[in-house]
């Protein structure tokens, strides 16, 4: 299919031009180094800005679910500056060092968590030609990178030398390892459907229809299963057992203060975004506009909207879905969490993968 407008929005020519221009004045190594630096800073900036946006969104959304207004006194009627105020405060807050903790691991843990989420964050396909890391096995890279976060949580819980944090860490360990399974299998379902593991490849393969529509009911269910296990991976309600405020005061990060705690807090929201972003990529077509086969006029109109808008729009829609879930259900108990995974989600996702494989081989998908 011709995608004139999409190509128009593509950043690839621009980046290529910059690269060429830089290579003209310096050696290629230096150019790459410089570009990496700029991109790194840009990612971190985007990370921070998105965190602020997400926290603000969470507050407004949960306020609305709870028949109340939410922040409206800081920064105009909408309370727009509420989160910046929080950030400012947390930046200037004392970081407490514990006497009887494992200092190295204790200090390391928040950085591990933030590292994991930045790594997987950089894999998101923002727009055509705007994916920062685009590996051939991009999907696996995301899964692998996000697993580092579990290590951070485990270390945080263990090194704090407190019983509450230890329980929280063990809980999250048991939970995350389990949910990684159905998460991975759901991702595999899509990989089978698209026939590629590269993230940009998966997005490109959805040009004639998003995966969620292409795979009959199978991808729809896989989408739901992915959302559930992704929610669990992001440690968010109703799977926030590791924090479980009412049981473990603040779970694995009970002993962290100041910016260290801020890192956990940020990572929680960014993981939410990453989960939604990956869901968008895998099931909702990433930056790909909504295309309906046969309606060329409609498709052309859709193409006028830039890919990044599509991507953010879809991602925030999924974020809203996850918030809706979070602000509705009570928390599960650890054995229920594991039951849900091993008795219901795992068999289901295996079945989905099997059916998808059969459909694909028989050529029954769109």
């Amino acid at each position: 299919m011709e995608q004139s407008f999409l190509d128009y929005y593509s950043l690839e020519p621009l980046t290529r031009w910059i690269h060429d221009a830089l290579c003209g004045v310096m050696s290629e190594d230096w150019a790459v180094f410089l570009e990496s630096l700029v991109i790194g800073v840009a990612i971190l900036l985007a990370y921070a800005v998105l965190a602020v946006v997400l926290i603000y969104m969470e507050r407004r959304v949960c306020g609305a679910f709870q028949c109340r207004i939410g922040p409206n006194r800081v920064g105009g009627k909408g309370g727009l500056l509420q989160v910046p105020a929080d950030v400012l405060k947390i930046l200037t807050k004392e970081i407490i060092r514990l006497k009887n903790s494992d200092h190295v691991l204790y200090e390391l843990a928040p950085y591990l968590v933030i590292l994991a989420s930045v790594l997987s964050f950089s894999c998101l396909p923002w727009n055509k030609g705007m994916a920062v890391i685009d590996l051939e096995v991009g999907v696996f890279f995301v899964l692998a990178a996000s697993s580092i976060g579990i290590l951070g949580i485990l270390l945080a819980g263990w090194s704090s030398n407190s019983k509450y944090t230890a329980i929280g860490a063990v809980r999250s360990g048991a939970m995350l390892v389990s949910y990684e399974l159905s998460l991975g299998i759901c991702v595999l379902t899509v990989v089978i459907l698209s026939g590629t593991m590269s993230i940009s490849g998966i997005v490109e393969s959805q040009a004639d229809g998003w995966n969620i529509f292409k795979g009959h009911i199978v991808t729809l269910i896989a989408f739901v299963v992915y959302l559930i296990s992704g929610n669990a991976e992001a440690n968010r309600g109703p799977f926030d057992l590791a924090e479980a405020e009412q049981e473990l005061t603040a779970g694995y990060h009970t002993e962290y203060s100041g910016m260290h705690f801020g890192f956990f807090y940020l990572a929680e929201y960014l993981n939410l975004f990453i989960t939604s972003g990956i869901a968008t990529t895998l099931f909702l077509g990433g930056w790909m506009p909504l295309h309906v086969a046969g309606l060329d006029g409609f498709n052309a109109v859709m193409d006028y909207i830039p890919g990044i808008v599509w991507f953010l729009g879809k991602t925030f829609f999924v974020v809203f879905l996850l918030m809706w879930i979070r602000w509705t259900y009570p928390r599960l108990r650890i054995d229920q969490v594991l039951n849900l995974e091993w008795k219901y989600l795992m068999p289901l996702s295996l079945l989905l993968m099997l059916v998808m494989a059969v459909l694909k081989t028989c050529g029954l998908v769109f």
């Binding site: 609305a64 028949c67 207004i69 509705t328 259900y329």
Partner: protein, 166 residues
């Protein structure tokens, strides 16, 4: 087979119950919010019921008269010593000795708001008001003196024509 149908049924029922939850919460999402906005509504819609007890006040009229005869009944009625009536004996014009109020000390920081003092007062000299904005930075600021500067006991005639209900 039976256990399998049960499994599927349970699957279905659970999913349905979860959907009902989502449905309820999204309905509330679009409902009008119930929040009252203090302090924005301070001068507009803020409604404090008349009987609300926020602080004790001594009733003063326009001529700076109060009705306290310093009998000390309120002090006696108070369960935790929040009220202290400081009085002195003074001779009036006819040479009769009379008890006169000097300071009516009231500790807002320990008041129980049980209304026993107001009930005990035979002259309706004190009452509870709605003035709830009392937070301060220092403990001493909560030790209040309720009789105003230079105020005196209302003359008896005026008291009859001007009864104050607590």
């Amino acid at each position: 087979m039976n256990s399998f149908t049960k499994y599927v049924k349970r699957y279905w029922r659970s999913t349905k119950s979860l959907w009902v939850g989502l449905h309820t919460s999204i309905r509330v999402f679009f409902r009008k919010k119930v929040t009252e906005q203090y302090p924005e509504n301070r001068h507009t819609t803020l409604h404090i019921p008349e009987r609300h007890r926020a602080t004790l006040e001594m009733v003063h009229d326009a001529d700076n008269h109060h009705h306290c005869i310093a009998c000390g009944l309120c002090q006696m009625a108070c369960p935790n010593g929040t009220i202290r009536v400081v009085s002195e004996m003074k001779e009036d014009a006819e040479g009769k000795k009379k008890r006169v109020l000097v300071r009516y000390e009231y500790d807002l920081g320990s008041c129980v708001f049980c209304q026993l003092c107001v009930n005990a007062c035979p002259h309706g000299a004190i009452r509870f008001t709605n003035e709830f904005e009392n937070a301060v930075f220092e403990r001493e600021k909560l030790h209040l003196v309720l009789n105003r500067e230079g105020s005196t006991l209302a003359p008896p005639a005026e008291k009859k024509t001007n009864p104050v209900k607590a």
